[in-house]
Amino acid sequence: MGATHLPATEFDGIEMDDRLEAEAEAQLGDPAGPMVQLLGPDGTPGADPVFSEYAERLDAEKLRGFYADMAAIRRFDQEATALQRQGQLALWVPLTGQEAAQIGSGRASQPQDYIFPTYREHGVALTRNVDLAELLRQFRGVSNGGWNPKDTNFHLYTLVLAAQTPHAVGYAMGIQRDQKLAAAAAAADQTPEPKAAVLVYFGDGASSEGDVHESMVFASSYNAPVVFFCQNNHWAISVPTSVQTRIPLSNRAKGYGFPGIRVDGNDVIAVHAVTEWALEHAREGKGPVLIEAFTYRVGAHTTADDPTKYRESAEEARWRAKDPLERLEKYLRAEGLADDAFFEQVRTAGDELAAYVRKTTYDLETPDIRTAFANTYVEAHPLVAEELAWFEEYSAGFADEAKADQAISDGTAHP
């Protein structure tokens, strides 16, 4: 079949099936297609005609910062897992293995950008200065949204998979409108706001949800300043990525006509470069970008999960060999950008963070259901008021009973 007749795929329609099979198989291990990589698993730097430029902007301090961030969030992850084991948290969602994808992308964002995470983006939270103790509230069962997104432009975690993706596009449509208003204001001699974009995270599993599609349709239609960041960590709980797609997820962008880039998600430098490029692209009004960060969830899906049910430990071992921290450490040491003292300092800082998190978790306030009554609506609501009144009376009854019981056992009860 002539290639001219299948403009819609790069596959030859007749032979494509065998190729597709082969490719799909290949992807289950290492990615078959090209992938942006600027730092190999052994710490050797790579080169790229476009993204090397972004990597070159990074000075030693920035690079050390990446390492410190990744080490901090890994230490935090271990501490949270421990807290869950001790019953201090109801559940924990570990990120180990995905530090580069999260720190690299988060550090590429600007304060004026707005970020929609899913529920595993603790590393991104760190880059947005979210108090990590606040982040644990949700997992301790004392809050559904532990922090105020207005403080950090880091939205709450969303547990309904992919539901945040259209929010991100809508937010970006709001930025577009704000920019028009700002342009008018600037004409009226005010300082213009810095241009902003939206960065939205979702997983390889979530990519199958219809909301991701509708978001991409809207984003493309309105040329919205949004970067879709898909962390392909190879698993959706027990389901491998091959069930969601038979070709790299970055290809999804082809259906909508905006760039899709697959990047080595364990290479913090490449992730940072690609995300910085994509956010600039979006902020400049050039439209959406899809980034697929090819990475791996080294631990369990959550502390309630048991990966031995569905995958080989050999696979985990293969990916541990591509560890994002180790490769950056190798690079920093090889280039003489960091010494033992630095790594020692990072370790100490990690321990301090862990201690802080442990303490603040123990101290987290116990919530009151009255808060839930108060926050269901912004404005007054008669049904909520009625139910709250009932609850108060009902609770007071128990208090009275308790008092009475106490009085009886105290012997102070009036007969």
Binding site: N144, N148, H167, M173, D211, F218, S221, N375
Partner: protein
């Protein structure tokens, strides 16, 4: 005072909103040059431009979802869902996201999205174009649901919905879009609170509670009952969530009998909620059980038999007879 239809009143209400509130905008399928399939947004894109009156891709989850995002950025989107039966692709965004955002953010975030849904039957239409799914939203905390029955209410309620900081679903009684009435665009008057029920006709023997498209039906039934010597009080609920139980209970304490009618199927409908709560609040006043009149437990039937399905004057009178027989 101006005379206009309900459709025109909503159009004028939206025009007023777009004029007064620079952060309000409209979104939906075919609401631009076409002016919506019912012409409710007619002329608005010409007046306010494509950034304020947005023809969206054909995807209801995308419409509600992006509206939530716009609201998070400080905008006040008014989404049109083209027909009642087509709200369901957006159900997840409404139920799990829109309704809960304020609560789950501990009050830090507000998402004052308005969703307009033409609803109800009686227009001889094809499948999915005649449904009354209000109960499926009323059960979810965090949403408010209102439904106008006349042009004056329609003009003001749409604006009040946008002003409200909570998400509001406005169910528009599509078979009454062409119903004409007086609108006072200068002042809402008694329509100042969209969440209050209105006693449209006073009576002493029984109370009939209705909303939206059935309001004229209930008034006609009350007229017919009067000829038979029965004095029927008619209440237009106006708000389905919250429900103004004070007004309804007060009426029932006086009349001793309650009929609730809606087009939605009786089973699991909002009539059950009203019956249950009023029975509790006015137990000793009730001379008869609350009688519900509603759709049958079946998908909305084909147009040629919808008259057999829809509560009409006779069905309300039959219920009244049953109530009076106790």
């Amino acid at each position: 005072m101006t005379t206009m239809t309900i459709a025109k009143a909503i159009n004028e209400g939206l025009r007023a909103t777009l004029s007064n509130n620079p952060r309000s905008l409209l979104m939906g399928e075919d609401i631009g040059p076409l002016g919506g399939v019912y012409r409710v947004t007619d002329g608005l894109i010409a007046e306010f431009g494509a950034d304020r009156v947005v023809d969206t891709p054909l995807a209801e989850s995308g419409i509600i979802g992006t509206a939530i995002g716009l609201a998070l950025r400080g905008y006040q989107p008014v989404c049109e869902i083209q027909f009642d039966g087509f709200v369901f692709p957006g159900f997840n965004q409404i139920t799990t996201q829109l309704a809960k955002m304020h609560s789950r953010s501990n009050g830090n975030l507000t998402v004052p999205v308005v969703i307009r849904i033409p609803y109800g039957g009686g227009i001889g239409s094809i499948e999915h174009h005649s449904e009354s799914p209000e109960a499926l939203f009323a059960h979810t905390a965090g949403l408010r649901i209102i439904t106008p029955s006349n042009p004056h209410d329609a003009y003001w309620m749409i604006q009040q919905a946008v002003d409200c900081q909570d998400p509001v679903i406005v169910f528009e009684p599509k078979r009454r879009y062409w119903l004409k009435g007086e609108v006072d665009t200068a002042s809402p008057g008694t329509a100042a609170d969209p969440f209050k029920a209105h006693v449209l006709r006073e009576g002493t023997d029984a109370t009939v509670v209705v909303y939206g498209p059935l309001v004229p039906v209930a008034l006609a039934a009350a007229n017919a009952a009067a000829e038979d010597g029965h004095s029927v009080e008619v209440i237009d609920l106006r708000s389905i969530s919250p429900i103004d139980f004070d007004t309804v209970t007060e009426s029932v304490k006086k009349t001793g009998r309650l009929i609730v009618a809606h087009e939605a199927p009786t089973f699991g409908g909002i009539g059950g909620e009203i019956a249950a709560r009023v029975s509790e609040r006015a137990f000793h006043s009730l001379e008869a059980p609350v009688i519900r009149v509603g759709g049958f437990h079946m998908p909305y039937p084909v147009a040629k038999v919808e008259e057999d399905y829809l509560p009409d004057i006779d069905r309300i009178l039959e219920a009244l007879d049953r109530a009076l027989a106790y």
